[in-house]
Amino acid sequence: MSAPLLDIRNLSIGFPAGKGEVLAVNDVNFSVAPRELVGIVGESGSGKSVTALAIIGLLPPNARVSGEIAFAGRNLVGLPQRQLRGLRGKEMGMIFQEPMTSLNPVFTVGDQIVEAVRAHEHMSLKAARDRATELLDKVGIPSPRRRLDDYPHQMSGGMRQRVMIAIALSSSPKLLIADEPTTALDVTIQAQLLDLLNGLREDFGTAIVLITHNMGVMAEIADRVVVMYCSRVVEEAGIFDLFDRPQHPYTEGLLGSTPDMGETAHRLTTIRGGMPNPADLPPGCLFAPRCDKAIAQCTTAQPPLFELGDGQKAACILAPKLQTEGAT
């Protein structure tokens, strides 16, 4: 395997809460190879967006970050904003969940793409507009030249998200972070956009970190999936292993709550209960209170992320692969 483009090690992110601090991301490790599409799943509040914002350096100033985010061999944690700004929009781009509010309502979309194009490259306005037209064309917007002068409110949600993708791609970044890019859109548009994202990997050689609730989406385009639960990574696996042999009961639950492959599942209905309050965590495995298989041992110590072979990892002492390994 080639050297990873993004290598996250022992990443922890805390926010001040009352007198203390609450960890939104707790000792997270994963990596992304060039051109790879890594998915992050997990229920609401598990720390997916905070992780994404940390990568691109857009956490609010009160966030405390420790650990390492190595991007193309360079640690971004603690890097001054000036240098992070040089990477943002150039080496990495990001698209967000809300296409309706992610574009500035008072500027034309052309304006906003041109700004991104010229942020890191000296270019005449004319050349930048040509490039913007090209980008709109690439992301599948018909009659792109004319669309440049549209304001965001003149476009549908799907179109706006395409514009967001065009902005994120303006300088052919090595990494694209997509935080639930299709959640707010209807199913057909969702499928088109996912196709588009997938195609970009081939055209631009971009690696993608895709955050989604939707296991069906993962099955379709992810190479590898990181499952987060309550600020931690509980499982990581290649896409086939994940679906065929999930090792963590939480992953199993997520898969069980996906009614049918390719269909949407916004709610994780089959896992009973809710995530523990991050300010008052139970001892031991954080999933134990909701786990049908939990045994006494589960509530005594936090299980580490066990290496299970084939790049699969799970933080469960009852992981089936762990059992068979122990038997042999």
């Binding site: 943002r88 150039k90 008072v106 500027f107 034309t108 890191h120």
Partner: protein, 317 residues
Amino acid sequence: MIGYTISRLLQAIPILLIVSLIAFGIIHLIPGDAATVIGGPSATPADLARIRENLGLDQPLHIQILTFYANLFQGDLGRSLLLGIPVTEAVLARSPITIGIAIYSLVLTIVFGLATGIIAALNHNRWIDQAATVFALIGVSLPNFWLALVMIVLFSVHLGWLPTGGYVPFTQNPIGWFRTATMPAVALALLQAGLLTRITRSTMLEVLSQDYIRTARAKGISEWRVVGRHALANVMMPVVTVLGLILSVLLSGSIVIETIFGIPGIGALLGNAIASRDYPMIQGGLFFITAALLLLNIVVDVLYTSLDPRIRVTGGK
């Protein structure tokens, strides 16, 4: 856009007529009348009756207002009883003075209000923010005439830097104009600047938390550009909507302030007219001020619709 402007202008006409009617009613509620002022203390009841007849004050009220409307449609606002010249002429002669000070005051308001509000928002919850909030609170709660008097005592009486009052036309002596216009302009600006600081600060805070600001930052552009272009363009819209309100407060405040500083503008003209029961002058002066405010508010609204593309394209409300 043009259709919108025209319809707004047409809507202004009934408003003007109604305001004139209200003004008329209020004027006639003030005790005493022009005849007693003109006739002086020695006038006999017969003198007063003659004066009233000359002025048409003996007519029933509804005839008086109808006469006013009839003349108005011919562009005639009557003659000032006190000055003996047409009201229109008196108003036009004085208005440049008031407009000059109003513009000066508006510039101070916008510069200080916007700057303080933006700086406060960018330093949210730090001491600069708190200082700005206190400043804004003082601004909106201090009466402007009180501030005017304090400034006169401080800068004119004690320090002797500026004259206590009077007026020098700008065309005659620009420095003299600044020396006479600065204290009135500052006194008028304080309230508005406080108001504008508050609005700018809260709008800026809200805009800065919007998704499109995060998008702008994700492009890797400078923070200057994020705030100065992406945020400010969105902050300006609500700010422009309060400009109409600010102008109204400014013009009404000028009556008191011009009187304190002895500035011969519209405010002082109207103040004197009220004191001497100069009915045509009061009625005509109020008509002009109302018309000016309506017009300014229309300008502000048209400006607003041209700032916001969401309204611009759909062609106004």
